[in-house]
Amino acid sequence: MNISWMDGLDWMDIAKACLDTLYMLGGSLALTVILGLPLGVLLFLTSRRQLLEQPIVYGVLSVVVNVLRSMPFIILLIVMIPLTYRMVGSSLGVRGAIPPLVFAATPFFARLVEIALREVDRGVVEAMQATGAKIHQIVLWALLPEAMPGIIAAVTVTAIALVSYTAMSGTVGGGGLGDLAIRFGYQRFQTNVMVVTVLLLIIGVQVMQMLGDRLVLRFSKK
């Protein structure tokens, strides 16, 4: 192997950065799904011609979601520093990165869930209503299972968006592969570090997309 190409490549650093990225990704993705799924369901149910049609509630939720989505992540990251500090006791490192990641990804994911639910045949909901089902039964037994392939696709897309967000959180001391690429690859002109981190990110994204596609297929009975 070419020794000079390997110069200054600290594999321990890279391994630690990988783990940090995985932590940030796993933590923020889990929280995003936990918060975004109910939000998406609520958006769907309160929208026009749906079971809980509530124009005012839908309007307010929609505006909040749009505001958060229109804010560039790097700005959100900085704006949120005081809030992040309050929530997790630090605005640095893996822990400090998670709140802004969740804030950025939840509205995005909720919108995708809303879209996936819209794809469910209205007739199926009507058939559920005709059996005398309550709204929570319609959501849990019909809407979510029927929309499951779309929701899994939404989780995949959100996870991949989160990977690129974690890189940005590196700029405010978030840690992870993005942080490594910026500090060593960009600021110290270590092209090899840049190449390795980018390659690792590409592989990670590919693996996630493949896993996601496979799960979608598994849940798709159409």
């Binding site: 045949d121 009507e126 058939a127 005709a130 005398g132 089902a133 037994w141 029927e146 009975k221």
Partner: protein
């Protein structure tokens, strides 16, 4: 069982009020199969949804088995819906659930918890609709007819008193349509369940229904026993529907192309006389001479019936004698020309 009293339903579309159902009154007895026929947009799908309040009536009274549907609260409405099953044109099954799981949904809605009990009831229903071998398949693996059978099993799960059928056979081929109609007929006979059948196909009414209402533009324009409506349609819309079903669309054209100058009569036979040789005897004994222009012999639900359109030939006296003989045997004679 079901009483509608001047029921209306209007929607607001783009700031304008549209009347989908206009002051309709219908009374459907227990165990009856009641057809509602009309073109798309006639208001029949809206009308049937007023019965289980998937749509709320704007005015009038809707009574189902003594319950005032419009005054029910949430719990009352859900309880009513468990007693009123519904099947749909596009089946509306859960694609992510197996046949057995689809059928079990109304049971779980009704609060059934014990899996063994649910399984036993599902097995009964599968046997009723003839799908024992398809219990663990997904809807996508079934044919249209099989999907509708699952729909029927699901609708019957909670032993409802009423079954609403919204264009239940409109997405099926003629052969499958027949088997589904036969199934519905059998279920009506075995379980005594009241059925409301929405359709745009007069053939469905002919094979299945006891009574029928014809809808046009939100109004019921004609109503009565199926044999009466079929054999003596009064309203123009009904006549169009019946002709379509009898494949007699262009009677005027037949008359014109056959260049008939004399009288043209429509002979209607109902009941066993449809099979008796009255026409032959009136030829033999009274010298009636005629030529058949169009005709139909078959059954309306379980009643044999036939209708022939004949151009009368020969002496007026022998025509009259022959027709008189037919009238005496209970054949209805009407002159079209």
């Amino acid at each position: 069982m079901i009483h509608l009293d001047s029921v209306s339903k209007s929607y607001v579309v783009g700031g304008q009020s549209v009347d989908a159902v206009k002051k309709v009154s219908l009374h459907i007895g227990p165990g009856e199969i009641y057809g509602i026929v009309g073109h798309s947009g006639a208001g029949k799908s809206t009308l049937v949804r007023l019965i289980n309040r998937l749509e709320s009536a704007s005015a009038g009274k809707v009574m189902v088995d003594g319950v005032d549907v419009r005054s029910l609260d949430g719990d009352g409405l859900r309880a009513l819906r468990q007693r009123v099953g519904m099947i749909f044109q596009h089946f509306n099954l859960l694609s992510s659930r197996t046949v057995a799981q689809n059928i079990a949904i109304p049971l779980r809605v009704a609060g059934w918890k014990e899996q063994a009990r649910i399984d036993a009831r599902v097995a009964e229903l599968l046997a009723l609709v003839g799908l024992e071998d398809h219990r663990d398949k997904y809807p996508a693996q079934l044919s249209g007819g099989q999907k509708q059978r699952v729909g029927i099993a699901r609708a019957l799960a909670n032993r409802p008193q009423v079954l609403l059928c919204d264009e239940a056979t409109s997405a099926l081929d003629p052969q499958t349509t027949k088997s589904i109609l036969a199934l519905l007929k059998r279920i009506n006979a075995e379980l005594g369940i009241t059925m409301v059948v929405i359709t745009h196909e007069m053939d469905v009414v002919r094979m299945l229904c006891d009574r029928v209402a014809v809808m046009d533009g939100g109004n019921v324009v004609e109503e009565g026993d199926v044999t009466k409506v079929f054999l003596h349609p009064e309203h123009h819309t009904t006549q169009l529907f019946v002709r379509e079903a009898e494949h007699l669309e262009d009677l005027e054209e037949v008359l014109a192309s056959a260049r008939i100058k004399g009288r043209v009569a429509r002979l209607t036979f109902v009941g066993q006389e449809a099979y008796a040789p009255y026409l032959a005897s009136s030829v033999r004994e009274y010298g009636l001479d005629f030529t058949i222009l169009a005709g139909n012999v078959g059954k309306i639900k379980d009643t044999p019936c036939g209708q022939l359109i004949v151009a009368l030939l020969g002496e007026t006296a022998s025509q009259e004698a022959g027709l008189e003989h037919l009238r005496k045997q209970g054949v209805t004679v009407e002159f079209l020309q």
